[in-house]
């Protein structure tokens, strides 16, 4: 075969492969979206309908109280826990990551190892003792209590994302601030942090994503008052008849912020997920 046609064929095959990847990746989400704008009756039709009258009924239902559950509250809970846990994890994790890049501590390695262990610990393993510990602290079914734990699991990711960013800041920058009489901590906050702002944003969004998506811990540690969206969503499929239009609408609202966040931190996302590996 002439060289030219071989190239054309190769390019065509690659693009065909990519098209299949794209279809495979997007079809389930597309179907979720379609179901969310169907009426309850249309969601149960066989064969599945591709042409139907779209309606936003399901969205209205999952934001109102008429289903008997306090959905507005659950949305607020999820948001609060995501914000609070991220704030706590940033306050603790960012100085740690900075310290680990700037100084050679005796127990740097031990700290990194303990942080990595948290990264690989199955959450269900600690959740039983945590439940009783939280009960003693009066933090069961409490937004603050859940935030404390989500922050623990966000720390490894925040630290690993920030390690990369701090490593790229020249030492002289903080040194110059020290000459001017600030402390190391002051230099971090006044001089270094403004430089790594993109990193802070990436780390913060990553931590919010983790908290927003987290299920097993929230399942065990919350009741009605602090229930988050993933936990509330599973109650939708525990009923005898599953209202698939509502399930889909809840799913859509839950994933819209995650997709937006992901597109914002695209490049850092893989780095965060690969926490533990340094390239």
């Amino acid at each position: 075969m002439p060289r030219f046609w071989r190239k054309v064929l190769a390019a065509a095959l690659v693009n065909l492969g990519l098209a299949l990847v794209l279809l495979w990746t997007l079809f389930p989400v597309f179907w979720l979206f379609l179901t969310s704008i169907k009426s309850e009756a249309d969601a149960f039709v066989y064969p599945p309908k591709l042409v139907f009258t779209p309606t936003f009924d399901a969205y209205y239902k999952v934001f109102s109280d008429e289903t008997g559950s306090n959905w507005p509250r659950f949305w607020l809970n999820s948001t609060s826990v995501a914000l609070l846990s991220t704030l706590i994890a940033l306050l603790i994790g960012v100085p740690a990551a900075y310290g680990l890049t700037r100084f050679q501590f005796k127990n740097s390695r031990a700290t990194l190892f303990s942080i990595l262990s948290v990264r690989f610990m199955p959450p269900i393993v600690v959740v039983i003792p945590l439940l009783f510990m939280m009960r003693t602290l009066k933090l069961v079914d409490n937004i603050l209590g859940l935030s404390f734990i989500h922050a623990v699991f966000a720390l490894p990711f925040i630290i690993w994302i920030m390690l990369g960013f701090f490593a790229s800041v020249p030492r002289d920058l903080a040194d110059a601030a020290l000459v001017d009489g600030t402390s190391e901590l002051g230099a971090l906050f006044r001089v270094v942090l403004p430089v790594v702002r993109p990193g802070l944003i990436a780390a913060a969004l990553f931590a919010m994503l983790l908290s927003w998506n987290e299920f097993p811990i929230a399942l065990v540690l919350t009741g009605e008052a602090a229930k988050t969206i993933p936990v509330a969503a599973t109650t939708l499929i525990a009923e005898r008849t599953i209202h698939w239009d509502r399930v889909a609408a809840t799913g859509m609202i839950a994933i819209i912020p995650t997709v937006l966040f992901a597109l914002l931190i695209q490049r850092h996302l893989i780095r965060g997920l690969a926490a533990g590996i340094v390239k």
Binding site: V14, F113, M121, F132, L236
Partner: protein, 292 residues
Amino acid sequence: MLKRFFDNHQLIFLGPVNAYITFWTLFPLLYMLIISLTNWKIPNPARFIWFGNYLEALTDPLFWYSVRITLTFAFAVSILEIGLGFGVALLLNRPSAVATLVRALLIVPMVLTPVVTSMMWRYLYNPSFGPLNYVLSLVGLGPYEWYSRAETVWPSLMLIDLWQWTPFPALLILSGLHSLPEDIFESAQVDGANALQRFIFLTVPLLRPLLLAAFLLRFLDALKIFDTVFVLTRGGPGTMTEVLSFHIYRFGIGEYFRVGYGASMSVLVLLLSAGLSWLFVNLLRQEELTHA
């Protein structure tokens, strides 16, 4: 005095994180160790039975079954995801507008709420009105009861994991492909190595550390499987898909409230995952891939 305190950098920078992690993981773990030695079952009072729970777990076929299926599941999905991911990475390696688009959209599955992903697939799998059975019926197959039948339940659960997580090794390997030194490939080409030979003898060995890292990360994360099982099968049919996390949950606080017994299995699973993490860090240290 106060000045000395603020000059201790280790205390200032690492103190908070160490204290926080100690308080929220080490204390609970110690507490768990204690309850694991009791026969505490809510609402009954607890009494020390020493290693009774451990003995029960280690002689319970269901526990060992659970260990086995969890390890097998994690191993199978991570191997498949690395293989498929490598393929996708190779497709994406040639720069084009389509490749850029696909690369951006590939991150979508990874960031979706796992509970939502599971519910979405439960609808796709639905035997009476799901689109998957409809598409298969067009070519004369089915209908299948995907996640409620013994023959199809594992492939169904694995497919969800493959859908959500193949993009991770794909994108990781893609970044590895971009960082390969071009001159070696050029000289190999000059020496007459064809594309397949270059792939087997250059690309794969050069990416070996990255492939290993991707495998270990996926493996350790896949061991945590809980959400999918909770939403789709609840361990069923029977106890066929009762993976470790769900097993502990069901016996500990989800159904039987045998807190002591659940705690003892948690200790065992923690030892397993800690051992695997330790192995992981050491393997990566050999490849000079980690700080820890």
